[in-house]
């Protein structure tokens, strides 16, 4: 898995933002849903992409710490920042009653899928390495 650093930070944000927006538009087209807060949601997506990429890039600098506390800590930080942002935004605009729940689901599901994929790829990499090592003898 490629390490996110300052050289590829912007491109990672751009790619993930494009994929999320395309996914959002496809989903809305298929379900016939009309987003009343289109502009706000697009900028929310951008904000989440920047934040999530920043948090994932921190992973590189936290490599000397055990994985599970790091991944849980990063998740708590991410969801915490998002909840604070929702609370802050609610002071200036109307929020849906389910705003916290919606954002919790929108962030948790991709995060868990990403963490699981990372975890599985780690053990597959070890299995592949063991196959190579057995052939070296």
């Amino acid at each position: 898995m490629k390490i996110i650093d300052r050289h590829n930070f912007i491109s990672v944000v751009c790619i993930s933002f494009t994929l999320i927006v395309c996914g959002k538009l496809l989903f809305e087209k298929m379900t016939g849903f009309t987003d009343r807060f289109y502009t706000e949601n697009i900028f929310t997506c951008l904000g989440i992409c920047v934040l999530a990429t920043f948090i994932l890039s921190m992973h590189y600098y936290l490599q000397r710490f055990p994985f599970i506390p790091v991944v849980i800590g990063q998740y708590v930080f991410l969801i915490g920042v998002i909840f604070v942002a929702i609370w802050f935004a609610s002071k200036f605009t109307d929020m849906a009653p389910s705003a916290y729940k919606d954002m919790f689901i929108s962030v948790t599901i991709p995060y868990v899928i990403g963490a699981a994929a990372y975890y599985i790829s780690y053990f597959l990499q070890i299995k592949k390495a063991n196959d190579i090592l057995s052939k070296l003898d």
Binding site: I3, Y60, Q63, R64, P66, F67, I68, Y119, Y122, F123, Q125, I126, A129, N130, I132, L133, S134, K135, L136
Partner: protein, 152 residues
């Protein structure tokens, strides 16, 4: 494809390798490069006596209190090289960094095992166990894949 023929000869004074070739191709060059590093010796100190140990016998190197120690199957001795110096000099012999303070010989690894915190445990052929930090995983797998390429 290059063949490996092992012949047992009794009462031989010293083991030797002989290369039969018509043309030195890329595969042969790769094998020779690896052999050159693997057949090198490293000088170390054990019980105040200096001795040269074949690099191929080294299992791993470790830094403790700014001193570098080399470990074979059953002995340990101090070497004058730094870990970075060993990596610079002997990467081709299969040495790769696995943490800030240790280097392992890929040819002496029995198997790898992952734990829940994504620390990789490296079990050596002498049943010792080393821990690889997550930060060195990419370099480790790169070196292992390179080695596999050479073997082919």
């Amino acid at each position: 494809m290059m063949k490996l023929i092992k012949t047992k000869e009794e009462y031989l004074d010293e083991n030797y390798l002989e290369l039969h070739y018509d043309e030195i191709d890329d595969e042969t060059v790769g094998v020779l490069e690896r052999l050159r590093s693997a057949l090198k010796y490293i000088e170390g100190t054990l019980d105040d006596k200096k001795q040269a140990v074949p690099l191929a016998d080294m299992f791993y190197f470790e830094t403790v209190d700014r001193k570098t120690f080399g470990y074979t199957k059953d002995t340990c001795f101090e070497v004058k090289e730094t870990l970075q110096g060993i990596i610079d000099e002997y990467t081709d012999a299969g040495f790769v960094r696995i943490s800030k303070s240790s280097i392992v010989n890929l040819y002496k690894i029995k198997r790898l095992q992952g734990d829940l915190n994504m620390r990789t445990l490296i079990y050596l052929k002498n049943d010792e166990c080393l821990v690889m930090n997550r930060g060195y995983r990419a370099d480790f797998y790169k070196a292992l894949n390179k080695l596999q390429g050479k073997k082919r």
